[in-house]
Symmetry: C2
Subunit: 306 residues, 2 copies
């Protein structure tokens, strides 16, 4: 019996929640992207599905479900939206791993998409996942007003693009040739991780016709949670276990990347992550008991080992 | 005074129309993607704008405007949608030009995006243009019902993604290692060119609340027009003028690409393009006089030199 209250660091409840969310979103992904019977595009689908089903915690769909729950809504009518969020996350990993970007050969212990299918098809698989995500988000969904659904998908486009993720990636690349201070690093981390967390929880809020102050609170929540996750990523890159991470430790150092750990050390980075976890929980104060699951996600930070 | 009737091959009217469409969409692009004042994402915007403003006929926005006209609608409220279509076209060119894809150093006589900004930023500029296009298409637009606007953006996602463009690109890459017959080539051409033409005219129809038979007719129109354009591209790659094309002629042959020209020769390819032009015009028979401008686009095929 889990006694996880709103401020608990016990994460057994959320770990179980992640498992059921992963099961649901993986089933949806499988149904929404079946292998075509005819030849011309089969290779493209293979590449898309290879990366989609290479594991992963399915954190963004789980956050999306937990936010729907905060508004008292079932996940079933919105499964295509959840699948779309995971497609966007997957596309970003495929493009990040490319030789011209991070040049990673392994992800979660498996060859990356471009190693397995070649660079050209990996670029296209990423493009296809990103594009198809919008086709899915824009399918009519029972219980969502079209104007709300438009706002939800628009939020995702903004957070995944120049308002968040791609901007963060670009800033990281440009920063490799310049001085990086904490302000720039925070900007990059918010883009790389907070932005898609925000896409997940804020799009759910839009779909449920949420009020502006609820949307603002969820955006704040995602900002802190994402920062915490990215900082723990830095720590794991130094202190982690290669087998659990599915990639070599020390890769940030090898790439001479400035991180919270290189700026302040592991201990201070862990403290900062704990502060972000607390700030994320506090952002939810305007919500009642229905946000209980959202309140538990920050507890994952203290327990993360991959 | 142009006497261009429905079956004319005189293209002075449409050439003028393309100029005003280009002026309108370029102004919209400039306003919708202003350079940010702060540093982190400036380089990304530079790369996006570099490719967006590198010229081009702005054919997709022009087709979009002409389709709006067929339904008696003004273009002004829908300028962000037109700009989005051009962003998607531009993203596809940036990614196509990458070393892992066509490896082109020049486009329209200028260095390609990755030559100018590096491969990593070029990949991200493409990703950002594609993503932001959806943010723009999903802005509230006066005179469009949200459900119609969702259908319009969903059509674009399908045609630009696994239902069209990306599928066509992937099929081309996979086909480099196999036998190519006319069926596969037609599939590739429809994906590479017809699909975004369809996105342009069919999304306009959705925004205007068109009937299913009108949408089907426009899809047919785009299919034939796109095929014709792609076949003329093949011819120009052999017979064209490097200065006008802004890239070397003979590049298909150098890459050992199978095209309509390598299969049947230039003369037969031109004849086939003319048949596609005629089929495109015939597809519009269910429309009245308001489709006059759409009827003139096929005339461009006979006159194209770049």
């Amino acid at each position: 019996m889990s006694g996880a209250g709103p401020n608990s660091t016990d994460c057994t409840g959320v770990v179980h929640y992640l498992k059921t969310a992963a099961r649901d979103v993986e089933r949806a992904l499988d149904q929404l992207l079946p292998l075509p019977r005819l030849a011309p595009e089969r290779e493209l689908y293979f590449a898309m599905r290879y990366s989609l089903f290479a594991g992963g915690k399915r954190l963004r769909p789980a956050l999306f479900f937990a936010a729907l729950e905060a508004f008292g809504r079932e996940r079933t009518p919105f499964l295509p939206f959840a699948a779309a969020l995971e497609m966007i996350h997957t596309y970003s990993l495929i493009h990040d791993d490319l030789p011209a970007m991070d040049d990673d050969d392994l992800r979660r212990g498996q060859p990356t998409c471009h190693v397995r299918y070649g660079e050209a098809l990996a670029i296209l698989a990423g493009d296809a996942l990103l594009t198809h995500a919008f086709a899915l988000m824009l399918q009519p969904m029972a219980g969502a007003a079209p104007a709300d659904q438009m706002a939800a998908a628009r939020e995702v486009a903004w957070q995944a693009g120049i308002g968040g993720m791609v901007a963060g990636q670009a800033a990281e690349i440009v920063s490799l040739q310049s001085e990086v201070d904490e302000g720039l690093l925070t900007y990059i981390y918010q883009g790389k991780t907070s932005a898609l967390f925000a896409a997940a929880v804020v799009s759910a809020a839009h779909l449920c016709g949420a009020a502006q102050e609820e949307i603002a609170a969820l955006r704040e929540y995602a900002k802190h949670l994402g920062l915490g996750f990215q900082i723990i990523d830095d720590v794991l890159d130094v202190e982690g276990d290669t087998a659990k991470l599915g990639k070599p430790v020390g890769s940030d150092e090898a790439r001479e990347l400035i991180t919270f750990v290189t700026l302040y050390g592991c201990e201070a980075a862990r403290q900062r992550a704990a502060q972000e976890a607390e700030a994320a929980r506090c952002s939810l104060d305007i919500f009642g008991g229905s946000a209980a699951m959202l309140r538990q996600f920050p507890a994952l930070l203290a327990e993360r080992d991959h």
